[in-house]
């Protein structure tokens, strides 16, 4: 479970001065559900997720991940979550198996446990053919599958995915989406951040529209459509951020 309360992040920039990247954002994500963060580039989604992953410290506000406060014990929070973002790349000179093993070790897993988990993930993500090849020779899809495997090697309770299908072909994207659904079915708490409207509609149980660092609306896609009087998610989004007028 993730509970964010009044999360705020302010950056100080020499040219722009004080930049409020995230402004008093509160939400709750429950186990067995996928929580979607929908917003354009620069809306503040990645900053929210980086705070939850303890990579950035909130300027104010708080959050609990799997019952642990972010600021009290960031190491324990990271041990309970799997974080994957467009900015979390892989080591090109390691193989997929070496990558998964390395992160398994960093999570304190035993070698036989890592080996077992690697085989399971490789089968679920269809990675068997390239498991022992170097990452720098991979296609985008192969890299993303490897990234997901390294994110989930320790079988975390909470999974944060930031634009996981970015740049993938239809087949690779379908595999990833199916895998995320599978994680939800196994009772994981999933946060799924994207700017692809159709993906949010198909996948997320709850959708939050983020714009200008603020959470503007939250609910299921049906609820949001009703509230805005929109016929699809794109219209929901445009009406929520105020670009398009409602009925």
């Amino acid at each position: 479970m993730i509970e964010a309360r009044q999360l705020t992040k302010v950056f100080h920039d020499r040219k722009r001065g004080e930049v409020r990247a995230v402004d008093s954002v509160s939400f709750t994500c429950h186990p067995g559900r996928i929580y979607g963060l929908l917003g354009v580039n620069g809306a503040g989604k990645t900053t929210i997720l980086r705070m939850l992953a303890t990579l950035l410290q909130p300027t104010s506000g708080s959050a609990r991940v799997a019952g642990i406060d972010l600021t009290d014990n960031p190491g324990a929070v990271r041990a309970r979550l799997g974080f994957l973002a467009a900015s979390t790349a892989l080591y090109g000179r390691l193989t997929a198996r070496e990558t998964i093993t390395y992160f398994g070790r960093l999570h304190g897993m035993r070698p036989e446990e890592i080996a077992r988990r690697t085989e399971t993930l490789a089968a679920e993500l269809r990675m068997e053919d390239f498991l022992d090849q170097r990452v720098d020779r991979f296609s985008t899809g192969m890299k993303q599958k490897t990234s997901i495997a390294r994110t989930l090697v320790h079988d975390p309770d909470v999974i944060i995915l930031d634009e996981p299908t970015l740049g993938l072909d239809v087949l690779a994207a379908r595999t990833i989406v199916a895998f995320v659904r599978d994680c939800r079915d196994r009772g994981k708490t999933v946060i799924y951040s994207t700017h692809i409207m159709s993906e949010v509609e198909k996948l997320c149980d709850t959708i939050a529209v983020v714009h200008g660092g603020r959470l503007l609306a939250e609910g299921s896609h049906e609820e949001l459509k009703q509230r805005t009087g929109a016929s699809d998610m794109e219209q929901v989004f445009l009406r929520t951020i105020g670009v398009e007028a409602g009925p």
């Binding site: 990579l55 410290q57 990271r78 979390t88 790349a89 080591y91 304190g108 990234s147």
Partner: protein
């Protein structure tokens, strides 16, 4: 601190680094292969040129001396010299290297000698040019021999013993042990090389493991694992330290083997020919450095390598990209070499104050150590002060890993 996590990070960085061509070249290829290849190629090339030049007959010109036929005839029959017809442009021809040397014999030279009047011959040469030097040396030797023969025949005619020329001998004896002579001659060079190797060995992995990782996006992947920032900093630091020490040790081994083989194969021959004076001294002094001192000098690399590794990690981590890190780090090569070069200046000797100046202290100490001087008080002080600076560098590196503005600088 979790030592297991530090080792996990270190082991991964080692695997990754050993697969990186750039680091492998700076860490293994340059010290183990390039140094011997350059040395042997240079040695073989020099030896070949010197041997060839020594076997050749050098073209010289005799200016004047028409009334001294005896000398001209003796010069003409010299096996190593070939007299070419006299022209007025001999200076230009020597500069253009079509003529190796010229000798000017004054008018009435024989008569002046017979009458006991002073006379002088002038040798024209191209200073620093091998073949011109060989020709000038032959001419010089020829006229010295001729002068000595004249003196001896005059003494004989007057029935004066030869010993009148040399009523007593002057000898000079070196009381300094050979390693001290060697230490004075090359003692300043050794710390320069060690410092440079230690720094360059740490440079590429430090930039790759920090700025490089930030640029490639792998730093964020590592930071979102449960490993603490201290463990990450230490794991990376130990890798950079390994690269720095490996470069120094491999270079030292490779240089020792190369010098051992090279002196036997090339150096004696080439040095003796090119510069008989100073070269001869250097040749005899080159291997004579104190081996214990040399090993101690290598041991002093440890705190120095810790200092370089931690400092380079902190600095490179600040950079957004590998290229930016290069622009910060590259000028530092000169900064670290300056104190090492300062240590080679005459009159700059180790004292308690200088023992606390990083890099300069190790350079001055190395100079003393290879000369066989072991001042344990200074050795301890330098080890402690360098370790303190190294620890400060490490603390700085760890702090950098905790700063959001550094890690997510964009």
């Amino acid at each position: 601190m979790n030592a297991r996590q530090v080792f996990t990070v270190y082991a991964k960085e080692l695997t990754d680094t050993l697969r990186d061509r750039r680091t492998l070249i700076s860490m293994f290829v340059v010290p183990t292969l390039l140094i011997p290849v350059i040395f042997f190629a240079f040695g073989a090339f020099t030896t070949k040129i010197v041997r060839k030049a020594r076997s050749e007959t050098q073209a010289i010109m005799v200016i004047g001396g028409e009334d001294s036929p005896g000398i001209r005839a003796a010069l003409a029959s010299h096996p190593k010299l070939k007299i070419v017809p006299t022209t007025g442009d001999f200076r230009n021809r020597i500069s253009e290297k079509t003529l190796r040397a010229a000798v000017e014999i004054p008018q009435g030279f024989d008569q002046a000698i017979a009458e006991g009047r002073p006379a002088s011959v002038k040798i024209f040469t191209y200073e620093g040019e091998l073949r011109s030097g060989l020709a000038a040396n032959e001419l010089d030797r020829f006229f010295r021999d001729y002068r000595e023969k004249l003196i001896l025949s005059k003494l004989e005619k007057r029935r004066i013993p030869r010993s009148i020329l040399k009523p007593f001998d002057i000898t000079r004896q070196n009381v300094a042990p050979p390693e001290k002579v060697g230490g004075n001659l090359i003692g300043g060079l050794i710390p320069c090389v060690i410092i440079l190797l230690s720094f360059s060995g740490a440079m590429y992995p430090a930039m790759d493991l920090t700025a490089g990782e930030k640029e490639r996006g792998t730093m964020e992947t590592l930071l979102c694992s449960p490993v603490g920032r201290r463990e990450i900093a230490l794991g990376k630091f130990f890798m950079v330290l390994t690269a720095s020490l490996a470069t120094v040790v491999l270079s030292a081994l490779s240089t020792a083997v190369t010098l051992g083989a090279g002196v036997v194969l090339f150096a004696r021959d080439a040095m003796a020919t090119v510069a008989q004076g100073a070269g001869g001294a250097a040749r005899s002094a080159l291997p004579a450095i104190d081996p214990t001192g040399f090993l101690l000098a290598l041991a002093m690399v440890l705190p120095l390598a810790v200092l370089f590794s931690s400092g380079l990690i902190a600095l490179s981590l600040f950079a957004k990209s590998y290229k930016e890190a290069q622009s910060y780090v590259s000028p530092l090569v000169i900064v670290v070499l300056l104190p090492a070069m300062l240590a080679t200046l005459p009159g700059v000797d180790l004292n308690a104050t200088l023992a606390c100046v990083p890099i300069l202290n190790v350079a001055l100490l190395c100079k003393e150590l290879v000369s066989g001087v072991f001042n344990w008080g200074y050795i301890s002080l330098i080890f402690i002060s360098t370790s303190v600076f190294a620890a400060l560098g490490l603390i700085l590196a760890e702090r950098m890993f905790n700063r959001e503005s550094v890690l997510f600088r964009s």
